[in-house]
Amino acid sequence: MNRLFKALCVIVTVLLSLFVAVALCNVFMGSPTGLFHAMRDRALRPVMEVSLVTSLLAAGLAMLLGTPVAYVLARRPFFGKAAVETLLDLPVALPPMVAGLALLVLVSPTSPFGHVLNGFGIHLIFTKAGIVLAQLFVALPFYIRAVRSAITSIPPSIPAAAALLRATEAYTFFHVILPLSREGIISGFVMCWARALGEFGATAMVAGCIPGVTETLPIAIYTRATSGDLAFAGAAAFCLALVSFVTLIGLRLSFRDGDERRKA
């Protein structure tokens, strides 16, 4: 029975790994010549630019806004904390199309909020700013989760010691909490960026897919694949997969180095 269980576990692991590898091979090694030509296609560059700029902006904003939120959630008890945590986590479970529709309704010029934004000259529908908003909305929980978990793992005696050494809460935050949460912040940023880079549903709802303006890599994959331009779609998919692959490897290597230093 024990042998059968072990064998089953191994077989399932091997089959799943093979499935992922074969699926990805189709992207990486589909048709090398076609892929090469598509990669040199001038139309791909603006798509990549839009994707990289907006996803990096979204991840940067997530870092700026999410760090204090993660700190409050990790360190402070307050009334309704569970409700706030659930609310902030909701975009993870929410279908992206629903998130997109919610954002579309919120920032459309006919809504009170959208009206105010328009008054300040801020237009989010069918613009790059709209892409950033959609990506931020969907990816922010990933950043908050990672950083909250990193802050929670700091022993309570550390910030207590800082306070008893006459450090204010702000000084402790910048000189103790943030440096000790560095790994969580980096991994949160990367996960958030990867999620933003791959965002499709909410982005399409808020920003549409105007070629050269609001066309991101995932949107380009969908529109080109459905219109029969499989080489371009493959090239865009290759770019996305490559970025994800390199990011994941980089993250694993950097944290493995950290783990080894700690063990030593």
């Binding site: 207590a160 800082a162 008893l164 006459r166 204010t168 809460e169 000790l180």
Partner: protein
Amino acid sequence: MIRLEHLDKRFGDRVVLRDLSLDVSGGEFAILFGPSGAGKTLLLSILAGLELPTAGRVILKGCDMARVPPERRSVTMVFQRHALFPHLTVFENVAFSLRARGLHGLVVKRRVGELLTLTGLEACAGLKPDVLSGGQCQRVAFARALASDAELILFDEPLNSLDRTLKAGLMAELKRLHRVKRFTALYVTHSCEEALALGDKVYQLENGCVKRVCLPHELFDRDDGRGPAK
């Protein structure tokens, strides 16, 4: 220097400290002695401002500390597990309080240098806590507490996790530091040896209240006044 008046601490129905009063004079090395679960560490947390009492008053130099946050109390603590900042070097750990108070870089360098010399840690200044021994970590914690210029230093069983030889050396070092700096100390322990070696006065805690106040050598006397216990 510090006076606790009729302190109570409850967690729901559970009473941990009850009607606890004590008085420690300036420069005194007072020992809080008692078994595990007597409420010693909780009492230190209340003094430090990390916990609020359910009732009673904490008075430091004549001022009620009820609404004073930990960073403004002029009280610091040496923790049982050091609580050193793992991302900072020994120098930076000791300098932490001085920098947090915005002291000039040169002053920080001079003060930290003095304290590292006093605690025999000059050679370790550039090292991070993860490469230090338990005894060295505790010496850094002592130096860091002294750098805070706090008027009261709380010690939460700081020598508990150390072996006998190391413990004896650090007790002598702590005694010497107290002689040089004359800080007021409240030291939590359940070890008669530490109470005897370090204390000027002993508060014996049992079930959340002060059972008796005595001199360290009187710890070995029986409660009924019939001479020393075995």
